[in-house]
């Protein structure tokens, strides 16, 4: 849609001009409240060169990204199998569902103080809360995905005497995979939110730490740089997941067409 894209660019361009006019040009917004483009640029130079909040930008980005990836991968490795099990076995569902029902209403961010009490301010506590926040959407969507598989497909596999391992890898997982990926996208989003919150509460490095120190220093330029960095990382990892999804579902033309 070229019309859409050109209007999009025009909008972003106009917003940047308004930003410049309000801050530098006309000085309506004081620089203590919101940074001008020049101040944001200098903050970016500051954090990537001399460093800020305990390290340079590359180091903060690396550490935040590392924690999100680790927590997210742990969540997939535990959540998807549990979801498959709950979707497949009515008994497992009956046992596990009530436990989920009492844990689920507690938002992942509310686990942060407990994680700090248990594991301190280091990486382990962050991985724990990220794992937790990403775990719940992976389980629920995998579970729903298994339940959505056409019954005749399951019955055919059963009738043809498919061995258990092949049944899981060739029927259950592929059948549930569109929903699994929906869950993973939610998980990834939750991972970033949780990471930023956990780092804002207490950390030695990472983008949340940059935001926290910038807030205490009343340094709006650096706050904006931190936010933009978080947004770019969130966007980039989501795109990567999209690529993985397209690759994993390449056999499933119907699902891809439905997603556009």
């Amino acid at each position: 849609m070229p019309r859409r894209i050109s209007i999009g660019f025009a909008t972003i361009f106009v917003v940047c001009i308004i930003w410049f006019l309000l801050t530098t040009g006309l000085g309506i917004i004081p620089s203590g409240r919101f940074p001008s483009p020049a101040e944001t640029w200098s903050a970016l130079i500051h954090v990537s060169g001399r460093g800020y909040g305990g390290g340079d930008l590359a180091m903060h980005v690396y550490n935040s990204l590392r924690l999100v990836v680790m927590g997210f991968l742990f969540a997939i490795a535990t959540g998807v199998p549990l979801g498959l099990l709950m979707g497949w076995s009515r008994r497992a569902e009956a046992v596990i569902n009530p436990i989920f029902l009492i844990i689920r209403p507690i938002p992942p961010l509310a686990w942060i103080p407990l994680a700090i009490l248990w594991l301190g301010l280091g990486d382990a506590a962050k991985i724990m809360v990220i794992w937790f926040s990403a775990f719940v959407p992976s389980v629920i969507n995998t579970y729903a995905g298994v339940r959505n598989i056409d019954r005749p497909v399951l019955e055919a596999a059963y009738m043809l005497g498919m061995p258990k391992f092949r049944f899981v890898s060739e029927v259950l997982v592929p059948g549930a995979s569109p929903m699994i990926f929906t869950g993973l996208r939610l998980s990834l989003q939750a991972s970033w939110t949780t990471l930023v919150a956990a780092e804002l509460v207490g950390a030695f490095y990472g983008l949340g730490r940059v935001l926290n120190v910038a807030q205490q220093d009343l340094y709006p330029g650096m706050i904006l740089v931190g936010m933009i960095a978080v947004a770019i990382l969130g966007w980039g990892t989501t795109r990567l997941l999209g690529v993985a999804e397209a690759w994993a579902l390449r056999w499933n033309t119907a699902a891809l067409a439905a997603k556009g």
Binding site: R4, T11, R90, A94, L109, L200, L211, I223, M227, A231
Partner: protein
């Protein structure tokens, strides 16, 4: 290997076994002394602490007091998000040009985690009530917009065509076709919003606040009072559950009313 169906009785039995196993394991681990009670207090300790906090002050207020402070902020932020987000989403769904202008901005902002607004929120509105409201708004706003947009977009085109053909004036088309058919989507958006808003509030209170249940938990953590932290988690979960149930009920009532209308 075929999926075994189980009866309701079996399912209830297994469910209570699961819950009992979970709480029992927690209790046994806590009282056995393998894990220190500072680390993992038993469920009974948490229950005791919860009831104590109901009328004893901790970090400046009782638990109901903290919850009231939190809920007040939540209500303001949530209402603000709904009042701005729903009309914006509907207008974006109806007028393509607005959609094309707002969507790129919205997509760019969507990737900023709501919690990342905390520093600006504190800078602009302080840490009392304004800052947290802005964070809740940041969490609750996107689902309101997206679901109102979807609701407006996926109206059965035949209805609009029929209305146009019969010469219905456009304000009546909006009021009698577009709005009613987007209501279910709007309500489900509100449910997502309430959940995200409530979670963002907890996050905001952990970082910047001087009252509220999140603040109470941070103080509990600073005092190494694990029971207080866990009691706070229980309270947050209960309020979140109540919010969700209330909106679910609203959803059902609206659906039923429409079922009768048709």
């Amino acid at each position: 290997m075929m999926q075994k169906q189980i009866s309701l009785r079996q399912s209830l039995l297994l469910g209570s076994l699961g819950l009992a196993g979970f709480i029992g394991l927690w209790h046994v681990l806590a009282v056995s002394g393998l894990i220190s009670p500072v680390f993992l207090p038993s469920p009974l300790d948490v229950y005791d602490r919860f009831t104590t906090l109901l009328d004893r002050r901790f970090a400046g207020a009782t638990l109901p007091g903290h919850l009231a402070a939190s809920f007040q902020r939540f209500a303001y932020g949530f209402l603000l998000a709904a009042l701005i987000g729903i009309p914006l989403g509907l207008l974006m769904g109806w007028y393509q040009i607005l959609d094309e202008i707002v969507s790129p901005l919205f997509d760019a902002l969507r990737f900023v985690a709501p919690i990342a607004w905390v520093p600006f929120a504190a800078l602009w509105f302080g840490t009392g009530i304004g800052g947290p409201i802005m964070i809740i708004f940041a969490g609750a706003f996107p689902p309101c917009v997206i679901n109102a947009y979807r609701g407006a977009k996926f109206v059965d085109p035949r209805l609009i065509e029929a209305a146009n053909m019969l010469g219905t004036p456009s304000h009546r088309v909006i009021r009698e076709i577009l709005l009613p058919s987007s209501v279910p989507s709007i309500i489900s958006g509100l449910r997502v919003s309430a959940g995200l808003g409530w979670q963002s509030l907890v996050g905001a209170e952990l970082i910047v606040a001087s009252a509220g249940v999140g603040y109470m938990m941070v103080q509990g953590q600073a005092n190494v009072s694990t029971t207080t932290v866990m009691a706070g988690m229980v309270a947050i979960g209960l309020v979140g559950l109540a919010l969700d149930s209330a909106l679910r009920l609203a959803e059902r009532i609206i659906q039923r009313r429409r079922g009768l209308d048709h």
